[in-house]
Symmetry: C2
Subunit: 505 residues, 2 copies
């Protein structure tokens, strides 16, 4: 690489750590992942030929399906290619149903081109397709395109650590929370989030100078959400802030639990009682593996609970192109649906979204294919179904495989991976390991993950980055690697763990 | 559309105009464009068959090239299609040079797919291509890929009003300013911006609670930047804030002036003297039309001024896929180059960028083609050159045409459109029109533009949205419509203006 900075020492800079915005430093610490930085250093060392007990770093820290070898869904890429280079619409090598969708999307774009701006809320026909998808998903509960907002990377930030280990702050969460946050001192807005949480939440909350209100998921009960715990948390919070928002992640990240319908009803009733605005992060709605689990959207349950709730409870829910079986993280497509939002606030929201972001049109188009896949009778339906089944079937196998193998390891307990794409096993660390960690000024599970990385090349994220009950330790690992590779990874973790226990016994 | 909100009146909402974040309301007013909202209403009325003195709304308010009929550059779309659907790499109907670039981009993507995350600073090989482009552009002045940050829509927000009339706040400006803003009271960070400005700047500044410091461009001198005016502005500002940042837009938006090399030298010397961090918005660097004007990058001039400057002056400059001859607004690709940034701050920047945004990989790929077009000897060079020449040649014609026609109208004065893609003519309004506007509680040029829209369907943006000297009135109009259409638009404006003058004589 070229060297720009000349050798002679410059005069003092205007922008230094001392002169910079202190708030930025604060935010950064909330989301920084030293493990993943270390992984980058090790990769460089491997490239430089430095010998290690392993030949590659396996980035099991991030939910990046295609980076792990998952093939893109053919139909989605065909439509995207047709939209990108419309000359292909004359090509016989593309199926008619893909061309039909591409034409429809292009007709809705300025100048029939992905290269034009779209309205800030998103391309109209795509918002209509999203609404139709939601209506189908929720068994006929109507969805209004006016309530749909297409966003940039609605879920990338929610879906996993970035490849560089830093969280990608998502537009929707910042946008909706920015509108919600107000007051000062004891009337500062309190935002309830699950622990373990996805650190995006704590980062946005601290950046917006809101108050984080923790509620703990029940690890002994497959990470279920217990409404009594919500009550405890909100009561305690009222002493020092004004709890106004309740964040739900279902299926859970990092914990992978899938909430029962009953649980969702209880949560909605609680939100109604306590006048809390519901934020439902539902980006893993297609990623449900346990045969005895089903995804229920908050929207659907809300409507089934009757008008007292469906007319009153304010809800924003989120989905994206990054997860499901498409796994198109790079397109950064996503949507937000709002329910019972005050009309004036909808105006504010559209304005703020417009100010904050412009959804890339290619990402919007990708979102359209996610919600509008081939249907029976269409040329591509068969192939699409095979590809979909293969991705989701494999994920289900790997979820079970991971749970089983972890639970064979002494000192590791792993709840069932009911959904999403991560395992979040609990690791029982000997006192000596905890002392060693303290000597290194590290959280014990950070110490453990760092050793795991250094000795095996496997990069996972310590539970301390997500939050966990005092004295418990975990790590988050994606199940995205191909089955054979995943088996190797799990075996390596097992061997490492046993050695680790011996060393610090 | 489906109706979701039931009829029965809901209980009081949690989120209302009263309870929401007051800061959001404040920001919104800085960027809201009522004219463009009105344009939307009129379009709906036309769709409903309501008769108007015109058949379509012409959105001359936004720099949206392809929406105005500009065809995408074939090569760029070919490479993008190949990256999107790699099966096409086997197709004989795509040129080898396009395939070569697509392969190179894909090899740099996780899993060889645009569907994977990239590093938060952007794909390495694309940052290298950007650095090589800058080095070529600046006649050999070296650029370091480490100083390049690929961003989301580095310039969409800078390039024009959104189609819905709201500004798209851009990531780079928020990110770099967020790091720079600090202090309170009189030590609050002051940010110098040109007047007329692109309202994105005032919006970001107010949102970050920094202090806006205006310097006026010299309309009598083709909107030139005069360093004495910078001196006046910074001296006055020091009474109430700490001026730390100087924003430059070159070529100018909305004013279209192209800064001379001498002017840039003076600005850099001033920034050096006053210890100001330079933000150079150079997204129109390819859009220079006046034969006696040339684009000089701040980076190049900085280096030619010698080590005292090139080692010390801190600079961030910006470019994007949206302008130039590619006009790919929808891809939201862009980059920022930083010079003399403190190494620690570069770390902070990469962290903040990672937190703030994830550049969509398709936008990064599009940026790569913008900076890495076909070269002589490559298969696509000829066609690319023809397409490029046609776009830029037409823009130059239209720039001259617009200036000439406006200056034929009594009561309109239009400076030469040296660059960018807008005219910002001054309109001399009769006292009676000003009174009528005041009676309608509108800025006089807002009143004028509203009437223009209602009577002709032509949507332009009043100068009051950009800032202008007290008692002067302007509007901004894009020159992007095809020549024949542009002539019609200009004729309609002329006829309207003459009638307007008669009416309020």
């Amino acid at each position: 690489m070229l060297k720009v900075r000349p050798e002679r020492s410059p005069r003092e800079r205007i922008l230094t750590l001392e002169s910079m915005n202190p708030q930025v430093k604060a935010v950064e610490y909330a989301v920084r992942g030293p493990i993943v930085l270390k992984a980058g250093e090790i990769e460089l060392e491997l490239q430089r030929g430095i010998k290690k007990p392993f030949t590659e770093v396996i980035r099991a820290n991030i939910g990046d399906a295609q980076a792990m070898g998952q093939q893109p869904i053919t139909f989605l890429r065909q439509v995207m290619a047709l939209c990108t280079y419309p000359n292909l619409l004359d090509s016989p090598s593309f199926p008619e149903d893909a061309k039909k969708r591409a034409r429809r999307i292009l007709q809705a774009c300025g100048g029939n081109s992905l290269g034009s701006y779209s309205a800030s809320q998103g391309v109209n026909c795509i918002r209509e397709d999203v609404a139709a998808y939601i209506t189908r998903r929720d068994g006929g509960v109507p969805a209004d395109p006016d309530n749909i907002y297409l966003t940039t990377g609605a879920s990338d930030g929610i879906s996993g650590w970035r490849s560089d280990g830093l969280l990608d702050m998502t537009s929707w969460l910042q946008t909706i929370l920015k509108i919600l946050v107000s007051g000062g001192g004891k009337s500062r807005t309190g935002v309830m989030i699950p622990i373990p949480q996805y650190p995006l939440y704590s980062a946005v909350i601290s950046e917006l100078d809101a108050i984080q209100v923790n509620y703990y998921l029940d690890e002994d009960n497959c990470w279920a959400l217990n409404v009594n715990e919500l009550r405890r948390a909100v009561q305690e919070a009222k002493d020092h802030c004004d709890p106004k928002v309740l964040c739900i992640i279902n299926p859970g990240n990092p914990t992978g639990q899938v909430q029962s319908r009953k649980c969702i009803e209880d949560v909605i009733h609680f939100a109604w009682e306590e006048k809390l605005f519901l934020l439902a992060d539902e980006v893993y709605q297609d990623n449900v593996y346990s045969p005895d689990c089903r995804f229920h959207s908050f929207k659907k349950v809300l409507y089934e609970m009757g008008p007292e709730y469906s007319n009153n409870v304010e809800l924003a829910s989120f989905h994206s192109t990054s997860k499901g079986y498409m796994g198109e993280c790079g397109y950064r497509g996503g949507y937000m649906e709002v329910i019972n939002l005050h009309p004036e606030i909808k105006g504010q929201l559209v304005k703020l979204l417009s100010v904050r972001l412009c959804p890339p049109v290619s990402g919007q188009a990708a979102m359209d294919i996610v919600v509008n896949p081939p249907v029976p009778g269409e040329e591509s339906f068969e192939n699409e179904s095979v590809e979909k089944e293969s991705v989701l079937g494999n994920l289900a196998k790997k979820a079970k495989l991971t749970e089983d193998l972890f639970n064979q390891v002494p000192g590791i307990h792993c709840n069932p991976l009911q959904g999403a794409m991560y395992a979040f096993p609990r690791i029982f660390l000997p006192a000596k390991a905890v002392e060693a960690a303290q000597a290194h000024k590290m959280a014990p599970d950070m110490f453990y993950c760092m050793k795991l990385l250094e000795e095996t090349g496997i990069c996972v994220v310590p539970g301390s980055g997500f939050g966990q009950r005092e004295g418990t330790y975990h790590f988050r690992m994606t199940i995205l690697p191909p089955v054979e590779k995943l088996k190797t990874v799990l075996q390596k973790v097992k061997d490492f763990h046993i050695k680790f226990l011996e060393k610090y016994a």
